[in-house]
Subunit: 429 residues, 2 copies
C-alpha cells in the first residue's frame, strides 16, 4: 500500500469508530481518559526512553524547540493531570440546546453530538498529543493525529496509550489513529468524504498552505496580528505593564501584540512604554510622528503594519482618533485579539462594540486569549475564522448538533394550506 | 469594468457596510424591515409590472417554475407579512452566550455578532429574495443576492426596496447588493477575502459545483436522500399516513422520503403503504424480497439506493434488523432527515441516539425538516454540513460570536509560573 492508500485505510477505520463513539456514554469516555492516565504512569520508563531517543536525534535544533520536545517526570505528571482534568469536565455530548413543543405530542429537541473525524496536525510536543487526543475522546470524535516528526517515537507511544485507554473502556481503539510523514498530511487533505475537520497547529505558512490546499473545513489561524490602542486617557503605568506583558511575556505566541497604536495626546504614555521596552531589549519601529517624539526609534515601513514578528519587536503608530485606530485594526489586523487601554468608558464601549475580532479587550493584556485562561479546560487551537468556532476552541468547538423530533404520527399536510393547523412552538425549559 | 471587477466593487461596498451594520441597533434593523414592507405596498404597481414582464418572457418554462416566479396581490401581502414577522423576532445580535468572571475585575463575555458578508444564490422566486434579504438585515449581515435570471427585473426592484429600507433606517444601503448573470457568480466565488459565507439554493448540481469550486465556506445541502424505517412494530395505519405525507405531499422537496426500509416482519404494513401509494399514482421499486411479497413492484437496482428522485418514486428495501436499517442509512443517506416508525420505545431510542443525520425522527413525517416548522421564523436553507449550522438554518446560523474581556490592567504574567495566581472562572448568570 502506498501512503495515500494507507491514510485512507486509517481514515476509514476512524470513520467506522465514530459510529460507536458517537453515542458512547460520557462515563465510558472518561474511563478511557483515566485509563490512559494510569498507563502513562505505568509505562513511564518506556515513554521517557522513546522521548530520549527522539531528543538525541534533535540535538541540532534550537533550544526552544528541544525544550518543547523534551519529556521529564514533571511534564509527564502534567500530562496525567491534564487527562484527569479533561475527564472531570462536564460531558459535552447529549446537551440539550433547544427543546420545543411544535404541537401537542410533537416535540423537537436539539442535542449536541460529535463532529465525526478530526485530522489534527500539530507541533513536536508530547503534551499536545495528549491534550488533543483527550479533547477528541471527550467529545466522542475519532481523530487522525499527525505530530511533528521530531518526536515521532514519543507521539506513536502516547497514541498507543490513548488507543489502549479507549479499549479498556470498551470503546473502539480505532478512534485514535497516528499519521506519519508529510506525505500522509497530503493524503489526509484529499479525504473530504472521510474527514470532517482539519485542525492545523504550527507556523502560519503551514496553516495557510493547508487552508489553500484542502476542501475540508479548517479550524485555526494563520496570522495573529494583534494591536493595543493607547487612548488619550490611558493610564501610563497600566500601559507600561500591559504592553510589556503583551509583547514580552511570550513574544512567539499568536496573541502577543505586534503593533501599538497611540492617540496623538498619548505622548507621555508612549514615552514610558517605549523606555520600558527598550530597557528590556525590545526593538521598536515607529511612524514619522513617533520618531519626532522619540528619535531613537527606527523607521517603520508599510510592511511593518502587516507583520507578525513572533519576536520582541513592536511597531508603533500615532493616530488622530479612535476611528483611525479602529480603521487601522480592520485594515491590518487578523481578527485575532485587539485591546484598548483607556479610562474613558465611552471610548471603551465603542471599541468593544465596533472592533471586529475574535477577542476585543479593555484594559487587559492580549495574552489572555487562550482556552485555559478562558476556563475551557483546554483548547485545540484559536480560530480566526468566523464560522462554527471563533476564538479559543475548547470542547464546544468540537461538537455539532442534531435535531430529534418525536411525534405520534404527525403529518406535514395537516399544517399546510388554508385549513392549516397552527404550530404551538412552545419552548420547554 | 468587467464582471469580475464589478463584482469585487460590490463586494467591497458590502464589506464596508458591515462596519456600520455590525454594531447597529436591533431597532434600526427592524425599522429597515418595516420600511421595506411599507415600500412593497407603496410600489405595488411597479413590482407587479416588473414581474409581469419577467413572466411574459418565461412563457416556455414549466408551469411549476412559472407559478413560483409569478407575483400577485396575495403573494405580495405574504411578503409584507414575512418582513414584519422577521422584524418581530428577538434581536439575534448582542445575545450573551457566556459570561464568566476570570478573576476579580476581569470579566469575559461572549456575545453574538454578524458573520459579515453573505453571498446568496437562489431560485427565480421573488419571495425568496425578500425572505433572504430580511434574514440578512435582521442579523446585521451585508449580502450579495444573485437570484434566478428568469425574475431578474423583479429581484432588482425588490432589492432596491430593501436598500431603500436600510437607508430609511439610517443604515448603509450598500448592505444589500444585487448580482446578475452566471459570470457574476463565478466572480463571487473568487472573493474569499471579502465574502464570509456562500448560501446556494437550487439544484444539487449547482450546490455541488459551488462546493467544489470555492474556498469560501458553503452552507446548504446538495442531496436530500431521506429514509423512513418501518420497524416490526410500526403501526400500519400510521405508516400509510406518514409515508404518503413524506413522499407525496411535495415530492420535489429535499425532505421528501426516497427510500422506505421495512423490517422483515413488516409485510402487512408494507402492503398497506404500497397499495396506498399505487392508488395515488406513485412508482415503487423494490428489492428481491419486496418483489416476492408484491410482484407488481418494479425491480430496484443499486443506483436506486443513492438516488434523490424529487418525484413520486419510492425505493423499498427489506432489512433483517434495526442495525441493518441504520447501516443502510449511513451508507446511502445524505445526513439530512431520517425517520423510524415504531411502537417499540427501545427501538426508537436506539434509532434517535445512533443515527447520524441533521434530523432524526420518531413517528413523524420527514417533511417537518424546515425552519418555519421548527419555529425559527424563516430559514435561509437546510445544512447537511456538520460545522457551524446543521439542519434548517434560521437567524442563529447567520451569526457568530466574539469574546469581550474587560479588565483593570490584568497581565498574563501574574497567572503564570510557580507563583501563579489562580483563575476564578466563576460563571455569572
Amino acid at each position: 500500500m502506498n501512503t495515500a492508500e494507507h491514510t485512507r485505510v486509517k481514515a476509514e477505520a476512524a470513520r467506522r469508530a465514530t459510529r460507536r463513539l458517537g453515542f458512547s456514554e460520557g462515563e465510558d469516555r472518561n474511563r478511557a481518559l483515566e485509563a490512559t492516565a494510569a498507563l502513562l504512569l505505568e509505562r513511564r520508563k518506556s515513554i521517557l526512553q522513546a522521548n530520549a531517543a527522539d531528543c538525541q536525534e534533535a540535538s541540532d535544533l534550537p533550544i526552544a524547540v528541544r525544550q518543547r520536545m523534551h519529556l521529564d517526570d514533571v511534564k509527564l505528571m502534567e500530562m496525567v493531570r491534564s487527562l484527569r482534568a479533561v475527564a472531570a469536565l462536564p460531558d459535552p455530548l447529549g446537551q440539550v440546546r433547544l427543546r420545543r413543543l411544535l404541537d401537542e405530542g410533537l416535540e423537537l429537541t436539539q442535542i449536541t453530538c460529535p463532529l465525526g473525524v478530526l485530522g489534527v496536525i500539530f507541533e513536536a510536543r508530547p503534551d499536545a498529543a495528549i491534550q488533543i487526543g483527550a479533547l477528541a475522546i471527550k467529545t466522542g470524535n475519532a481523530s487522525l493525529l499527525k505530530g511533528g516528526r521530531e518526536t515521532a517515537r514519543t507521539h506513536a507511544l502516547l497514541a498507543e496509550l490513548l488507543r489502549e485507554g479507549l479499549g479498556a473502556a470498551g470503546l473502539p481503539e480505532d478512534g485514535i489513529q497516528v499519521l506519519e510523514g508529510r506525505e500522509a498530511v497530503e493524503s489526509l487533505l484529499d479525504l473530504p468524504e472521510l474527514v470532517d475537520l482539519i485542525i492545523p497547529r504550527g507556523s502560519k505558512d503551514l496553516v495557510r498552505y493547508i487552508q489553500a490546499r484542502t476542501r475540508i473545513p479548517v479550524l485555526g489561524h494563520a496570522d495573529g496580528i494583534c494591536h493595543i490602542y493607547l487612548d488619550a486617557s490611558a493610564d501610563p503605568a497600566m500601559a507600561v505593564d500591559l504592553v510589556r506583558d503583551a509583547k514580552l511575556q511570550y513574544p512567539a505566541a499568536c496573541n502577543a501584540v505586534e503593533t501599538l497604536l497611540v492617540h496623538r495626546e498619548g505622548e507621555a504614555a508612549l514615552r514610558a512604554v517605549a523606555e520600558d521596552l527598550r530597557m528590556l531589549g525590545a526593538e521598536l519601529r515607529g511612524c514619522d510622528t513617533v520618531r519626532e517624539w522619540l528619535p531613537w526609534i527606527a523607521q517603520a515601513t508599510e510592511a511593518d503594519w502587516g507583520t507578525e514578528y513572533s519576536a520582541p519587536v513592536l511597531s508603533v503608530k500615532v493616530v488622530e482618533t479612535l476611528d483611525e485606530a479602529m480603521a487601522h485594526i480592520h485594515t491590518y489586523g487578523s481578527g485575532h485579539t485587539e485591546a484598548i487601554l483607556t479610562e474613558d468608558p465611552a471610548a471603551a464601549a465603542r471599541f468593544l462594540a465596533e472592533v471586529d475580532a475574535a477577542g476585543v479587550y479593555h484594559n487587559a493584556s492580549t495574552r489572555f486569549a487562550d482556552g485555559y485562561r478562558y476556563g475551557f479546560g483546554a483548547e485545540v487551537g484559536i480560530s480566526t475564522g468566523r464560522l462554527h468556532a471563533r476564538g479559543p476552541v475548547g470542547l464546544e468547538g468540537l461538537v455539532t448538533g442534531k435535531y430529534l423530533l418525536r411525534g405520534g404520527g404527525h403529518r406535514v399536510v395537516d399544517y399546510t394550506g388554508p385549513e392549516a393547523r397552527p404550530f404551538l412552538h412552545r419552548d420547554i425549559p
